[in-house]
């Protein structure tokens, strides 16, 4: 009787143990699954966040700010915060870019004012000569005079349009360009500045350069800024070398801007791309090179400097060549997908 009773109890106990163990197993497996799911989800979201932060650190704000998301959880909120931050940074960068461009424009103005002086003087001379020689000029000569006046006014328009193009605030627009063409357009803006400052130009542009896919006004802004710095570094005049050559295997194009000026002291060199760092006192904004740095980085390129006090300075700007296979160098990786 007692034996039977104990057997029963034992059976109940062992059944309970088994049930318990099975339940425990089921719970464990279920938890592992849930955990695995959440772990996977969190890792995935963190990867998105990491990608966004990486884009921000590279200055590619517009790629972060493109897709608005409606947050569902804390991680989404964090991602949205990063995206909002990129949006704000992008807006500020546009303002900074414009203010720096205007500062550069101030330097260009004196050169351009002088550049306008020549065609104005020509028109004035032609009008005076026309009046003073009116009675002895033949009809054809009179026509030639007036045709020359038109040529000179065209020259003035061209100078003014160049300046307007430079100063206008435009949305960055990426297009395919010949690097030599960009160099020529940027040099046109400083040609008179160079003449006034007694700076000779040495231009070396390799034939059949690979094309680049860039926002031309921005790259021109970078080059003009380098020229202005180079001219300022040569107060007694000197030589400005502007060279463009393909990098090995035509994957990149390298712009070189080299002066024979005062050079940059060793202790200053590490700071030249820092915002608001200037050696020009109140004449400089300290933004030129930092803005240039931002522009080149956004174009997935690189800007570097070599200099020694008294030995002149060389800036190198490397930009990726345009790979014409339907794939653009700035092909946007969608960070939210």
């Amino acid at each position: 009787m007692l034996k039977q009773e104990r057997k029963n109890v034992n059976r109940i106990i062992s059944r309970t143990v088994i049930t318990l163990l099975v339940s425990l197993g089921v719970i464990l497996i279920f938890q592992l699954g849930v955990w695995q799911y959440f772990f996977h989800f969190i890792i995935k979201e963190l990867a998105i966040m990491e990608n966004l932060i990486r884009l921000v650190s590279k200055g590619r704000f517009h790629e972060v700010a493109i897709k608005p998301i409606s947050p569902k959880n804390e991680i989404d909120y964090a991602i949205k915060a990063i995206s909002d931050m990129a949006n704000e940074l992008e807006k500020r960068e546009v303002v900074l870019l414009q203010s720096e461009k205007l500062a550069g424009l101030g330097v260009l103005i004196s050169g351009v004012a002088h550049e306008l002086g020549n065609p104005l003087n020509n028109i004035s001379l032609m009008a005076q000569a026309y009046l003073s020689l009116y009675d002895i000029l033949g009809d054809n000569e009179k026509k030639t005079f007036m045709a020359d006046v038109i040529t000179q006014t065209d020259r003035i328009s061209k100078i003014i349009n160049n300046l307007l193009d430079f100063s206008r605030q435009k949305k960055p627009e990426l297009k395919e360009y010949d690097p030599g063409e960009i160099v020529d357009r940027s040099l046109a803006l400083v040609s008179n500045q160079m003449k006034i400052s007694n700076v000779k130009l040495r231009k070396l542009i390799t034939d059949h350069l690979p094309r680049i896919y860039v926002d031309a006004p921005q790259i021109e802004q970078v080059l003009v800024n380098l020229y202005i710095n180079a001219i300022a570094a040569m107060p007694e005049g000197g030589e400005l070398t502007v060279a463009v050559a393909p990098a090995p295997a035509n994957r990149d194009v390298i712009f070189k801007v080299k002066d024979t000026g005062v050079g940059i002291p060793k202790e200053v060199l590490p700071h030249i791309f820092d915002p608001f760092f200037t050696t020009k006192g109140t004449k400089g904004t300290g933004l030129g090179l930092s803005v240039s740095y931002g522009i080149i980085r956004q174009h997935h390129g690189e800007i570097t400097v070599e200099s020694e006090a008294g030995q002149g300075t060389t800036f190198l700007v490397r930009l990726p060549a345009y790979q014409n296979k339907g794939e653009k160098p700035d092909a946007q990786e969608n960070p939210h997908s």
Partner: protein
């Protein structure tokens, strides 16, 4: 013998217009838009008057002025410039110059100055 004038300016129109007007006044005029060629020409023989721009590629107006003063005591120099700074004027006066005109040049004033230079 008509008086001989040399005009040096990298703007062709300045050369052409000054030549037209001054030839009409009865002078013999030679022009150069390339200042280094003008410098070579000056070495070959004297002019009564040289009219030169200040800022030019390669050889500047100051180089022309020095070359003329070194070679020919009697040749007068009139300088034209679009960049009329006080420093430039002082430099030119130190090198002995007859007259100095900022651009845009008034042709009547230039004619008067040329006449005066060649009368002296």
């Amino acid at each position: 013998m008509p008086k001989k004038i040399l005009i040096v300016d990298d703007e062709k129109i300045v050369c052409d217009m000054a030549k037209r007007v001054l030839e009409h006044e009865g002078y013999e005029v030679e022009t150069f838009t390339d200042s280094s060629l003008a410098l070579e020409r000056i070495k070959e023989g004297p002019f009564d008057l040289v009219i030169t721009d200040l800022k030019m590629e390669n050889v500047s107006g100051m180089d022309i002025l020095r070359e003329v003063n070194n070679r020919y005591a009697d040749t007068k120099v009139i300088m034209l410039t679009a960049y009329a700074t006080l420093d430039a004027a002082i430099d030119a006066i130190r090198e002995k110059i007859f007259d100095f005109f900022p651009k845009p040049v008034k042709i009547d004033d230039l004619k008067k100055s040329v006449k005066k230079a060649l009368e002296e």
